[in-house]
Symmetry: C2
Subunit: 219 residues, 2 copies
């Protein structure tokens, strides 16, 4: 394994391209999602080896649920299966999303408070039926100069820490509503391959690039 002079503490994962990949293979769009589960585990295992402290996976959003029902069911199932498989691993699991909607899978309710499993080697967060506006709308005005940390304490995703590096598969160069507050200073790395085409080398490419970036936070 390579040595890095600087590793991200927290990596955000946008696993995009499942539908485009499925179509390129002659499958139905909704068939792409189940091919996105194993890549998540490979990535998780590699990050554990590297000592990454926190990972957040973009499961699905409230916007995504406007898609055809057969697709919505497929990505709901992929999220549930992913979280359930992780309950066999050492992790601190947290699911963040709007539970007040029938689109939030009931099976994931126990994980809406962080659950420590085994040695709890790393914090793994899933955004499930998440919406950026839902997240921020929990915020209550306390003071004009409340400070950034206090601001974060007021949002629905407050148990998810600031993100250092976002890796997005599938070639799009946008956040698509992914944790706007935690992503404020994140470095953004794009992989053109689709998420089901995940290779460990993608992670290393992102980390190689990340260590060449500075950190200023505007100062």
């Amino acid at each position: 394994m390579e040595q890095y002079k600087r590793l991200p503490r927290h990596i955000g994962i946008i696993p995009d391209g499942n539908r485009r990949w499925a179509q390129s293979k002659g499958l139905n769009k909704e068939d792409g999602y189940r091919y996105g589960i194993e890549p998540g585990f490979e990535l998780y295992r590699e990050c554990i080896k590297l000592g990454i402290e926190e990972m957040t996976f973009y499961g699905f959003t409230q916007d995504n649920t406007k898609r055809p029902a057969v697709q919505t069911k497929a990505f709901q199932k992929a999220c549930v299966d992913s979280v359930m498989q992780l309950t066999g691993q050492d992790a601190n699991l947290l699911v963040v999303g709007n539970t007040g909607s029938p689109l939030f899978p009931r099976e994931l309710l126990p994980f809406t408070k962080r659950v420590t499993i085994g040695k709890g080697l790393t914090n793994i967060n899933f955004l499930v039926n998440y919406g950026w506006d839902w997240d921020l709308s929990h915020f209550r005005k306390a003071s004009q100069n409340m400070g950034k940390d206090n601001f974060m304490a007021g949002i629905a995703s407050s148990d998810i820490s600031r993100i250092d590096l976002i890796i997005r598969w599938g070639g799009r160069r946008r956040l698509s509503g992914f944790l706007p507050v935690q992503s404020i200073y994140a470095d953004f790395y794009i992989i053109d391959d689709m998420w089901p085409e995940f290779k460990i080398q993608h992670l290393y490419d992102a980390l190689d690039w990340y260590q060449t970036q500075d950190i200023t936070r505007g100062g």
Copy 2:
């Protein structure tokens, strides 16, 4: 001029790299900022020709004002000079930032409500002494399901519309606190050249790329 099948309605500009450019030329860091004024006008004029409806320039942030005083003075002056020069052009000018701080230049107070100049060909916004947390902290909780448009109505930058394309100079791939709500679905284009090295071709490279992107907003 090229023909585009799809143009962004609103472009966000992150004009980074002034200090690195100055150092590479053997100048003091703070000398870089004044070389960033003319590029802004070139870009403005080209966007007018193309019919771009709105542009937002990232002037400086509350974080930036932690820098040495000589730099802070230099970027404050560059912002004031840029806005003042635009008062000789046809534009709807708006300055958004925390006016309740001595770091906000007094000369720009008249522009904190949108001012129409001449034919008002386009909306030009400047972020001056801006902070993402200052912006969002204006939001008051109204409803958990208030909708995205109502959410935007509550923040300090509510007169700035959603951004379609963000162009950042200077090679960094991050938002650095730039309008988190308006940037939610924005496509992000990075130019490795520093902002004082601006060329019209940079804009065309970004627009060429932008028209190849899809728009789904998660649907």
